[in-house]
Symmetry: C2
Subunit: 88 residues, 2 copies
């Protein structure tokens, strides 16, 4: 339980960076405007986030696992939208 204070800082960081990212996902969800998003960038970011998720598990970091699980899911939604709506 000595690591508790670390995880408090980690979760505050996780909350702030994730909360700053989610409006982008929501905006894309509502507008279906994916023109500003690049598929290679999104895929690179998605793989990177999965990497952080694995790293979080290896480092026993609840903050990293929490933040990157949410970000991976959000980024997956953006990738899906990019592929689906870019065809039009």
């Amino acid at each position: 339980m000595l690591d508790n204070y670390k995880e408090i800082i980690g979760f505050v960081a996780a909350f702030l960076t994730t909360a700053a990212f989610l409006p982008q996902v929501y905006k894309t969800w509502k507008t279906k405007d994916v023109s500003g998003l690049s598929l290679p960038m999104l895929l690179m970011f998605f793989i990177g986030v999965l990497g952080w998720l694995i790293y979080g598990v290896l480092k026993y970091s609840p903050s990293l696992i929490f933040a990157n699980a949410i970000t991976a899911l959000s980024t997956f939604i953006l990738v899906f939208f990019k592929i689906k709506y870019n065809k039009k």
Copy 2:
């Protein structure tokens, strides 16, 4: 040195997520178009990234320190541009 393989995964993750973020910074640098950026979001993200940086130091995580140092600097540049060019 047992943690080496973890840091390899961490650095790959750091490289991918940071590399996906930098074109946004570069694009803003070149175009000076900050209209799509929200200052509260940028500040929230910046504070979050500083939180991850502190967390990385506490967790002895070179990957987290490396990734968030670069991201903090890049985000600081975006905040600076947002404040400077939004006035026009």
